[in-house]
Symmetry: C2
Subunit: 326 residues, 2 copies
């Protein structure tokens, strides 16, 4: 179980390796949201998403002789890149099991970071089974994308930074909206804020049709998504909340927020126009919720984590064309 | 004449107002450049460009009773937004004289920041004359875009940050490539580095056909551009180097670097792909030079300032489409 001490230890191991991302804002976004909006742009993190933090944390926490045999991960893309780069920076090999329909950019980048990429069919194959089999055959350590205490600890370093940056902005009480797939970032940030900034409440954000965490928080037990693919927000689509992450999130998070794909695209364009950052659809759902769910949010400030920026140029240009008036 | 003391004083006045921008990097950019590439993303600054720094510095340096009468500026866009926001944050009015062919986004944003916008014809009217007339008629203080010691001092705060960030990265000797129009950012950064990091040498970067500073540095006297408009890099097109900025740059800068519009567009796309930041064409010439002029650059590291990110979505999408293979 991840604790604040593990998050603090991850912060020490990650110092000088992960990028301390700034807190961005724009009066234009404040006007839309009806309150001050602060954005934590984890798209500016190494490999273009917060996933590098969890990957570095998990790889660096391994015993040296275990680490030396290499690592394996399964991921729709951002976790893959994080693990590949963290492995390369540690001088070890990595095998990444990726869905065959992941954005080409993510597959190419993962290979470019030195990983061996194994593709699978998201609808008909079980990535857990594939990962476990390869890990056993080659002596690799499996780095799970979210249900892994050291990964959650690494993602928690985002929360440590938010706690400090919010204090510098004079924010004592606010919702912190986090893009939520399996819930690792959400859980890590929630644990960090519980310890360092208890006036800040994490709210998971998800795309419509894939709101497993929002429904699970409401019912009090793990609920599954009816579909497993087909969202623009591919990066944060998982079948259900994690067994390790969900109890943390159920204890610490406020209600989930749900936005449409179209709202996520509009938030991407606003992030382009007003913050000059590149955000992928799944990485924009928290900002979309901050901007377009004003009645479901409390307080005069809101913080949104833009979790990643690995978006194919065609998708990005299409979003710019569809929302040319924002 | 701007001194390091004026830059340090500007830094004190600007603390908590301007954003401390991070230093970004990507192994993919290193591979293209053949050396480590560090990017200072001033596109993430308030109003989307470094110009906010100089504007804040100049407005905040005015005597209160002079400042209260308001300010005026003439600008192709980024200086306009910087002055408009700095004025609004000081609770004073601003008049901005802008070319009629400036990007619509820049005109709209300048108005949204509360400025009164006066448009002029870039080919047939003299913006200096228009600015001086309006200033005299209304008692406004003219904030020049670059030939103004307090503006140069404000831009110099970029150099103070680079000096510190380079030290943290272990960089003692490197070229620091700066997008150069009138030369205010170039001069400010050069003065700051002279005092704080003398191993770092500023190299101005300009678009082909508008390389007045590169030619002036070579000949030792102020040279004019043959044309005054028509570049994609509109934000950094000026008729000639400034009377105040040029002597500073002639004393402190290395040779100028010149890139094509197409190279600037490719650098924009690489900044999108690899750094997840939005850079305008004129703001990308320094990065283009860092990436595509490897034989004209010294050392194993290079630092490029991406000076602004205010680019119309159509231009951005067209660049993504033209360079879809990078």
């Amino acid at each position: 179980m991840t604790t604040i001490s593990m998050i603090e230890a991850a912060e020490e191991r990650i110092a000088g390796q992960a990028r301390l991302t700034p807190l961005l804002s724009s009066p234009f976004l404040d006007a839309i949201a009806g309150r001050r909006v602060f954005v934590k742009p984890e798209c500016l993190q190494h490999t273009g998403s917060f996933k590098f933090r969890g990957a570095w944390s998990a790889v660096s926490a391994l015993e040296p002789e275990v680490r030396a045999r290499g690592v394996i991960a399964f991921s729709s893309g951002n976790h893959a890149q994080g693990v590949a780069l963290a492995a390369r920076m540690h001088g070890i090999s990595s095998v990444i099991v990726m869905p065959a329909d992941a954005p080409k950019l993510k597959i190419d980048n993962t290979r470019a970071f030195g990983a061996e990429v194994v593709l699978y069919d998201r609808e008909n194959e079980d990535r857990d089974e594939i990962g476990a089999r390869l890990a056993a055959a080659r002596g690799l350590t499996l780095i799970r994308p979210f249900d892994e205490p050291e990964v959650i600890a690494g993602q928690g370093t985002v929360g440590l930074e938010i706690a400090e940056q919010a204090r510098a902005e004079g924010i004592e009480k606010a919702d912190v909206i986090v893009c939520c797939g399996g819930g690792g970032l959400t859980a890590g940030v929630a644990l960090a804020l519980e310890a360092r900034a208890p006036g800040l409440t994490v709210r998971p954000a998800e795309p419509e049709g894939f709101d497993d965490t929002a429904r699970s928080l409401k019912s009090g037990r793990i609920e599954r998504n009816p579909r497993l693919g087909g969202s623009l927000c591919d990066a944060i689509v998982t079948p259900q909340p994690g067994n390790i992450t969900f109890p943390i999130n159920a204890r610490l998070c406020g209600q989930g927020l749900v936005v449409s794909d179209e709202e996520a695209l509009e938030a991407m364009v606003l992030a382009y126009n007003r913050l000059k950052i590149v955000v992928e659809p799944g990485g924009a759902v928290a900002l979309a919720a901050a901007l377009f769910r004003r009645d479901e949010i409390e307080g005069d400030s809101v913080i949104a984590v833009c979790s990643g920026g690995n978006v194919d140029p065609q998708v990005f240009s299409a979003a710019l064309a569809r929302h040319s008036d924002v």
